[in-house]
Symmetry: C2
Subunit: 284 residues, 2 copies
């Protein structure tokens, strides 16, 4: 970062995306990481954790809508939801749209991410006052070990598979997620970019398949992430991602007028994969 | 560009994508533009025209496969094909896979782009020796005015709507394309990124709808283009993009094993648009 540009380097420091700066709004070192908020010309406000792009005003809705409404629309009953990571609270906002959900637990290791988001991204944190929402400032890996047969949906809203997020991509962790889910539960996680595959996508999917009987993948563009073309995992005990619950369709048709990305047509199409995507996840 | 990195700035010079350089393989000033070939770590060889990314080894197949096989699969008879622009010849390669096509005309204003591509991107230009292929070193806008009721498919493989490519996005040009097409012909063109919409996507689609009765949009990721999430237009006199010709399906199922991106499932899904994409093209 200089006074004019912030650039995030990826793919072994050989690829970069850059944002021209209006100003640096915030900077601090928390117990866990460096936290910055920038104001940029192309994507508005931009949250960085250890100088990696996490959330921007220009595209936050994509990630938040696609990890929440896809599993919600595939499972008849959704009462209890868990989000691990995701301290910007945007995923909470999306689940909170559904009044049939009883509880939304957010487990974020770094409470400063939540506080900074409340100040600079109030459009993301707006549902944190909802009485169904509980914030746990803990390590998600430890939190989940104590939960059994409880959650309908668990979203792993993690950073890349490195440093303290590495444990969120292991067979052992997926086994604990499986145990924390009800008998027809669904796990959603972010699974990186297949063009610039620094972290081994095949291995992530192999670990998921080791635990879940149904493992599918879909994609959505995240403008601020390296390579933009982003993949997500759908790991399920019972339901398939393209069997949308028919009784929810007319409800979602109305709701999606207020959404910026998600609709049920797009949902169906997102699971119709290109050859590159199929090969990247060994589903060929 | 410095000795270590090439960066393309977009969206009013506020957003950038950068590539760490191995070396600069070629540089020249042609009659029309500056032409460079770089060798990079993240995307391999990379062709620049006036310092804008055009083709890379890492993702050229996406663009070339999605502008060719989509219209081919929607029209029962495809005999004569025209490509305007596209001097890298990758679109020619994809159409040449289909033995039922009689002629493939490529109209590229700058023959130096073709020559440089032959040297540095032989995987793209490999079909230029095919006896069905004709290269016309001319202005596509003038070329098309003389053609009437001849082409089954016309692909506008253009740069951004500025400078000498601006004329490839006008109502007048689309009218000439319409006249050059047979009575059930299809036009395909690149229509920019809706997140970083510098050039007015709504206006491009409005111009297309002014001439064609069926105008649809689809997307595919182009890793080297600004914002990656790329949209394409499907403008048609008769056929709809999701009505794949059933007699071609088993043929394509075999062929697509050799393709890196396209398959008929992905084709169907690519037209199931997100809310953002629908709103960007005024198809809401």
């Amino acid at each position: 970062m200089n006074n004019e540009w912030f650039r995030e380097k990826s793919f072994h420091q050989t690829h970069s995306v850059g944002f021209k700066l209006k100003s640096i709004l915030h900077e601090e070192q928390s117990e866990f990481q460096n936290i910055k908020v920038l104001d940029t010309y192309s994507v508005g406000k931009l949250l960085l954790l250890d100088d990696k792009c996490m959330v921007s005003q220009a595209d936050e809705f994509v990630y938040h809508e696609v990890v929440s409404h896809i599993p919600y629309m595939c499972k008849p009953i959704v009462k209890n939801v868990l989000i691990i990571g995701g301290g910007d609270c945007g995923v909470v906002r999306e689940f909170a749209r559904h009044v049939d959900i009883h509880s939304i637990d957010l487990v974020e290791i770094d409470e400063r991410v939540v506080e900074v988001s409340k100040k600079y991204f109030p459009e993301c944190t707006q549902a944190m006052d909802d009485k169904r929402v509980s914030l746990y400032t803990q390590d998600g890996i430890e939190f989940i070990k104590k939960k059994k047969n409880h959650y309908d949906i668990i979203v792993i809203d993690s950073t890349d598979p490195e440093d303290f997020a590495l444990g969120l991509f292991t067979k052992q962790f997926y086994k604990h997620v499986h145990e924390a889910l009800v008998e027809d539960g669904i796990m959603i996680n972010q699974t990186e970019n297949p063009f610039l595959d620094e972290f081994g996508i095949k291995n992530i999917y192999s670990n998921m398949r080791n635990t879940f009987p149904i493992v599918k993948s879909y994609s959505a563009p995240m403008l601020i992430y390296p390579g933009v073309f982003w993949t997500f995992g759908f790991s399920s005990k019972k339901y398939r991602p393209t069997n949308i619950i028919s009784s929810k369709i007319s409800y979602m048709k109305k709701l999606s007028k207020d959404l910026k990305w998600y609709n049920t047509d797009w949902h169906q199409g997102a699971f119709l994969l290109s050859n590159l995507h199929k090969r990247a996840i060994d589903q060929w």
